[in-house]
Symmetry: C2
Subunit: 325 residues, 2 copies
């Protein structure tokens, strides 16, 4: 079935308008942030074969494409408002579009946000989403606020998405049920929006983990001008990952990518408030290290009180242009 562009938008991507003053179907959408709010804007582009495998179900792809943008809003402590979709796909087929739209709009519904505009075209499968949220001026969680002495925290578990990728690559074998669980971590990440909101006024800096822990911690270190200490044994991991050889665990935990958990910092005096924010938002949070003066650089210890830091040369951050395939 071939659909025209306008029919396609009408049929699959026209949910009812609520918060937006004007939804899709005009040249622009019109948004009205609440008085005294700043607008937070995030953009991500997903390309088949690079950001997702052709094996992913369309419903999960729709979910993930929006989830990675909501994760950016979460990392800023912003409340999601609306999003736009730019979709290039080889053929306009209902067998793809119906579940793709369902996965995307169900996640939107869970967060009470609207699809307010978009553009569809024939072409290679790529999905571009721009998500908008609001945050009171001065309350956004930035990458630049970490200070020496802060504790370093992470939400959820790390490394399962990378573990699933290694199964697809044939480097790791997992029993079917375990594979289903780690595959879900890769294909159905849950953006930590509630935690981001709960951390306003508590966290000093935050980022979402998309490029891998070492790479994203590097962004915080550069922006904040700080060093950091990581405790490898403190990094939260699933039973499936914990059952893997140490070398696999380290690679998945430190350079995994695609975790979409929040990495954040807070003064040691705020530890109880951080735990309370985790409980209030239903999100596990774990202290995994400490922010140090810039001169200390980055040190990763096998244990929280280890003496000798590990050699980091073996761990490379994920970079879309530097890694092949």
């Amino acid at each position: 079935m071939a659909l025209g562009e306008f029919e396609l938008i009408e049929r699959y991507f026209r949910p009812p308008v609520r918060r937006a003053a004007l939804g899709g179907g005009d040249d622009c959408a019109l948004l009205q942030p609440a008085p005294g709010q700043q607008l937070a804007v995030s953009t991500d582009l997903l390309v088949e074969g690079r950001h997702f495998l052709s094996t992913v179900a369309p419903e999960r792809l729709g979910h993930k494409a929006l989830a990675v943008n909501l994760s950016d809003l979460a990392a800023c402590g912003a409340e999601p408002l609306a999003f736009t979709l730019a979709l290039s796909l080889p053929r306009a087929e209902a067998s793809f579009l119906a579940p793709f739209a369902r996965g995307m709009l169900e996640l939107a519904e869970q967060h009470g946000i609207e699809l307010v505009g978009g553009d569809t075209t024939a072409g290679p499968l790529t999905i571009g989403i721009t998500a908008m949220g609001q945050v009171p001026p001065g309350q956004a969680l930035l990458r630049s606020g970490a200070r020496a002495g802060d504790e370093l925290w992470v939400s959820g578990c790390l490394g399962d998405a990378r573990l699933a990728l290694e199964v697809f690559r044939g480097r790791v074998e997992l029993p079917g049920e375990t594979f289903g669980a780690v595959r879900e971590a890769m294909e159905l990440p849950q953006p930590r929006v509630a935690l981001g909101l709960a951390l306003r006024g508590i966290a000093t800096a935050a980022i979402d983990l998309s490029d891998g822990l070492l790479g994203d911690l590097g962004h915080v270190r550069r922006r904040s001008g700080v060093g950091a200490t990581l405790w490898l044994d403190a990094l939260p991991r699933s039973a499936a990952l914990a059952a893997q050889p140490v070398s696999v665990q380290r690679e998945c935990l430190l350079a995994g990518g695609d975790d979409y958990e929040l990495l954040f910092t807070a003064p040691a005096s705020a530890a109880e408030a951080v735990r309370a924010a985790g409980v209030a938002s239903g999100t596990p949070v774990t202290c995994i290290g400490r922010i140090e003066p810039a001169a200390e650089g980055l040190k990763v210890y096998a244990e929280a009180h280890g003496r000798e830091p590990l050699d980091l040369a073996a761990f490379a951050s994920f970079d879309h242009f530097k890694t092949a395939g």
Copy 2:
């Protein structure tokens, strides 16, 4: 030269931050619309071979990718504020990126707006832009406001972009200098932002011409619930197009696409105000027809006072999924 994603963004797409409270480099950009303003949001996706030819110079491609979004803001009467860029490209090469960024950021500079976020990845050449602007509540120009009796207006000239495409397709031949001019219409469209702002409070409806006059007029008719009369001889055209056979002229004028002029309606009593808005914004404006009751449908006459409407079956609107190649 292969660049990493972060170096690439730093090198080519990191202009100084001005209006945005926080520019690129964090999880989100933060925007602050002025008090009492709505945010207007537009998204477009450009794919090589479909929205632009491989023959286009990178600098012009950068210009056009942003221009088509500013054109959407113009059609809403919105004042541009900022934009995000999602860029997929086969290789990170300075020979492409430097002029591409220059063309894009020069147009941004002309309109006093900032690139506030983005995502780059390796993949087929596609460019997704989301532009944001502001407009006071109730003053946006919508597609839905046209009323029977309104006059129908258009800015600039129509059909040159399509004429250039026909030259590339080998169906039309033009002398070199003339081709250069129509090629510029295709590759360097000038978004009618100043006209859109000047038409606030005057125009009853507006849309930008991206799909071709008949197709885009159809959007206004559906949204407004009206019919329309078009006068073919009134349609503004370049000397290059006027020198073509009538059949070529009609196709380029009515179904051309890629014009990025504004099509708008205004009460007949506002004709002087419309002309004044054209003068104030330095934009030619031409009355090309009239809005009719819905029951009249669409009628195209060869002349303003012709008796027999033309047969429209020969003119198809441009639709990215219905037209091949």
